[in-house]
């Protein structure tokens, strides 16, 4: 199952879902979550998910079910507005709170320190963005972010290049 996390004010994830259905994908193969009406706080950096309640975020809001779905998904796509050439803060809040999927423990991988992941399966990550995002930067960021979580980047696409993103969604 692939997950589409839509934080955009224009609910652009709906357009992606329509395209997916049009291209023959079944509704059971993916899930879109519109987070715009959900209560999702920023990460407060308490480190409880590493050192006090391993794997569990201390913030009690609408995020926990999303994280659980992310953990089990094959792919996670962030559909995001952009500011300062980067993701919106709403999307970044969701990303920052992925930390319970990693543990406090460390290792070296490809010459750099990484946290040891908590679960055996890791989702891959992709981005579909709207607005004046800096695609080169977002690509670099997505690759780095995926590296940190033991997975790979699926790519970064402007919403007007949605068809390209959709090709990657079941590649």
């Amino acid at each position: 199952m692939n997950l589409i996390l839509d934080t955009t004010q224009e609910h652009l994830g709906k357009r992606i879902v329509e395209e997916l259905l049009r291209s023959g994908k079944r509704q059971t193969e993916f899930e879109r979550i519109d987070t715009t009406t959900m209560q999702i706080s920023h990460c407060i950096g308490c480190n409880h998910c590493w050192l006090k309640t391993p794997g569990i975020c201390s913030i009690k809001d609408d995020y926990a079910p999303i994280l659980k779905k992310m953990s089990g998904a094959g792919q996670v796509w962030f559909v995001s507005d952009t500011r300062f050439g980067f993701l919106s803060y709403q999307t970044k809040n969701i990303v920052d709170r992925v930390l319970p999927l990693a543990t406090m423990n460390l290792k070296f991988k490809d010459g750099q320190m990484r946290h040891v992941m908590r679960y055996d399966h890791q989702p891959d990550f992709g981005i579909v963005f709207a607005g004046d995002g800096d695609r080169d930067y977002l690509n670099w960021w997505c690759q780095r972010m995926a590296l940190n979580f033991g997975s790979r980047s699926l790519g970064v696409f402007h919403v007007e290049q949605m068809q390209e993103a959709i090709k990657c969604m079941w590649s």
Partner: protein, 216 residues
């Protein structure tokens, strides 16, 4: 020189590594005759005051922890509330992280390099340094010792060249650790470090293994 220092960490000041770094940096500023005022975005009710200080002053320094390769979501939200200014204002950064290698912070640094342009102000450079995760876990003397190098950087900053001087660039330390050191550290990670982390967790009241699979 009068510097507005903004702690961009979402963590409350008492437990904020960035807060301890700012304190040490501030001592360096004072040594060289500069002054400063400091704020923290972790308290939303102070955002109006921070914005006002940002508007009124021309030397702004944001210190922040790296959160997933870039700035924390809460800081992004705060930045959205800032008005555009002109290039008489200089915006500089201290970017710190838990991971020790300089290469780990470059993606975040790139974002910060470009940010001033979006805000209409000029860029004063970015002081980049890792290996700060444990500051909050140290006692007062340990925190003083761990953050002492930032005092020298505060003194350097007071001389007016932002973070563009060689001393500031060298402050980062190694971009990557050499292979023999990595091999040694890997052994430490699997043994002593793992034990220490579990001990730290125990002191927080945790008796669960740190690699517990919460959902399985």
């Amino acid at each position: 020189m009068h510097v507005v220092m903004i702690n961009g960490s979402p963590r409350i000041e008492k437990y904020s590594n960035t807060d301890k770094i700012i304190s040490s940096f501030g001592k360096g500023l004072l040594e060289r005759g500069a002054s400063f005022e400091r704020y923290a975005i972790s308290e939303r009710r102070s955002w109006d005051a921070i914005r006002e200080a940002y508007i009124k002053n021309e030397e702004i320094l944001i210190a922040l922890p790296l959160f997933v390769e870039c700035v924390p979501g809460l800081l992004l939200e705060f930045l959205e509330t800032l008005p555009k200014k002109d290039d008489r204002t200089r915006l500089s950064f201290i970017l710190q992280s838990g991971f020790a290698e300089g290469s780990q912070l470059r993606c975040g640094e790139r974002f910060l390099e470009k940010l001033p342009e979006y805000l209409g102000v000029c860029y004063g450079g970015c002081l980049v340094k890792g290996d700060n995760f444990g500051i909050r876990l140290l006692d007062a003397a340990g925190q003083e010792k761990a953050t002492k190098p930032y005092r020298a950087m505060g003194a350097l900053f007071a001389e007016g060249d932002g973070f563009f001087r060689t001393e500031a660039k060298k402050f980062t330390g190694p971009e990557y650790f050499p292979l023999p050191l990595r091999v040694l550290m890997q052994m430490v990670f699997k043994t002593i470090a793992k034990k220490r982390f579990q001990q730290a967790a125990a002191s927080w009241g945790c008796d669960t293994p740190l690699d517990a699979k919460a959902w399985e």
